[in-house]
């Protein structure tokens, strides 16, 4: 951060640095390394280093690659813009004003994240395509928007903007009204002081969350596959998935293409770093200032309507589509009362304990992943932001990598890494491998959240703890961590949500016979019971939303407002 060339005597904890390094090494670096190795040595899967680079250059010299990479970039950037457009106003309103029903909107806006993307895409298709639910209800369809590049961006923006919303509302909340108020004293109107002061000050949150969205959208498969195929919009992930979706599969090729994705994400990462290091965003100083949320006054109604509108788009429509499908006996029967019924839900409950077991597994894994990833993320971000040396950039870059890798590829990397015959013990084929996979895939979230938060933290707060006799570890646990806790709680809720619905990696690395919610849903689909799958998806969304909400309420009650930002 500031004054980078000065040697400080209050280095962060060495222990934390080691935890971060080792954690990232085990969770991220090793699988990634094996992906690289696989890309280079096509025969590596069977333990042979034969024919290095034989497929590498062949894959990269595919003339179609250029177009796909361009499309990927276009899609990533477009999604980022859509997500920002949806999220920035909502986050600013949520953080700076007393929005009626704020917690409810938070809960609702969390849901797009909990709906598996392939289900959401299906929901959108079934709603908007000709004779879809929209046409059945209102008489018109929006197929031309749905099956277009901007439609894909819009839908992916709607699926991912909650990341931006949550990070940004934390960031804005920390900034508060104080700094823009100062601007207003100096003659800036409300808008100008927002755009000149509050918004630029939120750059850590904005850059971090948009980086996440970018990385997520270039590796996202479900939506571009469902919508883009039809209009010939091919992106790199479709290329990757095609290589491993049917016999014969091409692991080295997909690994190689994944590296292109990683490269793109790293470029985005460098842009984010540059943005954050160019300026100083430390606004949590040693002279705390009270900052209350403002009342919206007459704007309460329009603001509520805006929230309602976005929540309807991002959550309402997909959920309604899911519900409609779940309640329909047959899809071809349409939304006729005679075709509606609780059959699918009844079958779900009657299907024996399988669904329940899957649910239990997912919740268990989700919770553990949230805690582990949250902690490791906070520690990593701390080592990166407050540490020094070139090494921390490597750590930082590593922490975003899994987010840009398609789940299948991460899965393959993890199998390659942990199913080596010479390993004395291995988590492979136990549920722990799923934990490892989830932490790997989801670590980028808490790291970015914590990074955004840490960039706002003045140095003297930690310094004061050190001078007061706290060792580096205690300074972290007593001062730094509590100060970023509100962000971390949000990050952990998101991690929980995604972990309890993650499909692709789960499918690939789950121990034989071990089921999670996502796998269960997918299997229903695979048998052709879209209705049953949708019913399960609906229940899963309901449960994964209610659990974190209950947790927050409990936390709020326990801390009774003494932890900032839990509101």
């Amino acid at each position: 951060m500031a004054g980078g060339s000065v040697t400080t005597g209050a280095e962060g904890s060495v222990l934390l640095k080691w935890i971060a390094t080792l954690g990232l090494l085990i969770v991220v670096a090793i699988p990634c390394l094996f992906i690289v190795v696989q890309a280079i040595f096509p025969e590596f899967g069977s333990g042979s280093f034969a024919a290095p680079f034989s497929l590498f250059f062949k894959t990269l010299s595919d003339p179609a690659l250029f177009g796909m990479a361009g499309n990927t970039l276009l899609l990533g950037v477009g999604t980022v813009i859509c997500a920002a457009v949806f999220a920035v106003p909502l986050a600013a309103l949520r953080a700076l004003y007393r929005v009626p029903g704020a917690l409810i909107w938070d809960g609702l806006l969390l849901i797009p994240f909990m709906i598996p993307p392939y289900i959401a895409a299906l929901g959108w298709i079934m709603t908007l395509q000709p004779r879809g639910y929209l046409e059945q209800v209102t008489g018109f369809n929006m197929a031309s928007l749905l099956f277009s590049v901007s439609g894909i961006m819009l839908i992916m923006g709607l699926n991912t903007f909650s990341v931006v919303y949550f990070v940004l509302s934390r960031t804005f909340e920390t900034i508060g009204a104080r700094y823009s108020d100062v601007g207003r004293v100096f003659g800036a109107g409300q808008w100008r002081s927002f755009w000149r002061i509050t918004f630029p000050l939120a750059m850590p949150g904005l850059a971090a969350s948009l980086l996440l969205v970018f990385a997520m959208s270039i590796e996202e498969y479900g939506t571009p596959a469902a919508l883009g195929r039809r209009i010939g919009f091919e992106v790199l992930v479709t290329g990757i998935e095609n290589r491993i979706s049917e016999w014969p599969i091409d692991l080295p090729g997909s690994a190689t293409l994944s590296l292109v994705l990683v490269g793109m994400a790293l470029v985005a990462f460098m842009v984010q770093r540059w943005l954050l290091n160019r300026r100083d965003y430390r606004i949590v100083g040693g002279k705390p200032q009270a900052s209350d949320k403002r009342s919206l006054g007459v704007w309460a109604v329009p603001a509520t309507l805006l929230f309602a509108f976005v929540a309807l788009l991002a959550t309402g429509l997909p959920i309604l589509a899911i519900l409609a499908t779940a309640l329909s006996r047959t899809i071809s029967g349409g939304l006729k009362p005679s075709n509606m019924g609780l059959d699918n839900f009844r079958e779900l409950l009657g299907a024996g304990s399988d669904g329940l077991i899957a649910l239990g597994n997912s919740l268990m894994l989700g919770t553990t992943t949230a805690l582990l990833a949250g902690l490791l993320g906070a520690i990593t971000a701390y080592s990166v932001v407050k540490g020094r040396g070139r090494f921390r950039i490597v750590l930082d870059a590593l922490s975003i990598t899994p987010n840009s890798l398609p789940g299948v590829v991460v899965g393959v990397g993890i199998i390659l890494a942990w199913n080596q015959p010479w390993l004395p013990i291995t988590p492979y084929n136990t549920p722990f491998i799923l934990l490892l996979a989830y932490v790997c895939i989801l670590l980028p979230q808490p790291v970015r959240y914590a990074t955004a938060s840490l960039h706002q933290l003045g140095d003297n707060l930690e310094s004061a703890a050190r001078v007061s006799g706290a060792g580096p570890l205690r300074a972290f646990t007593r001062i730094v961590f509590p100060l970023i806790l509100p962000s971390m709680v949000t990050a952990m809720i998101l991690v929980f949500a995604v972990a309890s619905r993650e499909l692709v990696a789960s499918l690939l690395v789950a121990p034989v016979g071990f089921q999670t919610i996502a796998v269960y849903i997918w299997q229903q689909f695979d048998q052709g019971s879209a209705g049953l799958g949708m019913a399960m998806a609906f229940c899963a969304v309901l449960i994964t939303t209610l659990i974190p909400l209950a947790l927050i309420s409990l936390l709020r009650w326990l801390t009774r407002g003494s932890v900032a930002g839990l509101s």
Binding site: G3, Y179, R184, V185, F186, G187, G189, P200, D280, Q289
Partner: protein, 363 residues
Amino acid sequence: MFSKSSAVSGAPALSLQGVSMSYGAEKVLHQIDLNLAAGEVLGLLGPSGCGKTTLLRLISGLLLPDAGQIQIAGTTVAAPRAGITLPPEKRGLGMVFQDYALWPHMSVARNVAFPLEMMRVGASECKDRVTRALDRVGLGAMAERRPSDLSGGQQQRVAIARAIVAEPPLVLFDEPLSNLDRELRETMVEEIADLVADLNLSAVYVTHDHAEALTLANHVAVMRGGWVEQLAAPAELVDHPKTAAVAEFLRLGCLLPALHDAENWLIKGTDLSLPAGVFGGAEAQVLLPEKALRLDANGPNKLKTEVLRAQVRSTGQALTLRVVGTNHVIRHLTPAPVRAGDVLELSFSPEDLRWFPVADPHH
């Protein structure tokens, strides 16, 4: 953004009537009435936590009063009864915040340029004025730094430069020189005085440094516990403090409790008599002003004191004297070489004494 012509001519630059304000249940400002003529400086003095910053925040529009009304240049900017609240940006102010409140993401120059940009001042003029403002506070060389790479005093000066760069008709200063050394402080006080005089600005100036307030302000308000105890010109304040509390706070001298015993006023608990005052009642507090005391024992009244402590000051020695026969201490600054233990005779005139009732008006 704001224009001097919009002011109702002849109206006071600032006027507060019956302004009250609470944080939650705790009332921190009571019935504040203040008036400030255009071109004048109002000093605000008062102990820590008495509500000075809160008052400035009310004037700037960052807080709203619970009752009363505030007018700036004749325009009512806040009046809860009438439902009027003008947002801060419409009030035409500059302000130095107690915690500086610099924007960390902008360079020093950008911080200072902000008020000008809000007035849509052209780029080259803006640059000139920023340079001038930074030069005024001695930071011309640091324009491109980040605020966080400055020392505390340098940051404070950036805050001053930002407040004055646009030369707004009313400037609010919240302890603007607290982190500066004395030399710089004196220069800055002069700068501010010149600025106010040259541009006919008005200012409210919160400070803990009496000298600063007395030098700069045309009127000084002494606050205590959310009340204005006295509002007066500096000379009046020093010569005729309204209450014992004001005298005490301003460190005007030694406050002695006095009892009217038969026909004499005596220092309570002793038999030291005081010159008769024009004060009714049986009990009083008497101020023995420091500036009325002479070390040359040839005034009309005398007091025997013992030197408790003699501390070096750059302009002489600061003595702590005990009135012999009592526990009351008197402070006195003298260039003469004196040691602890010496017995000194101080003289004063009875007309310099100030008499106050014992009970406090508000508390």
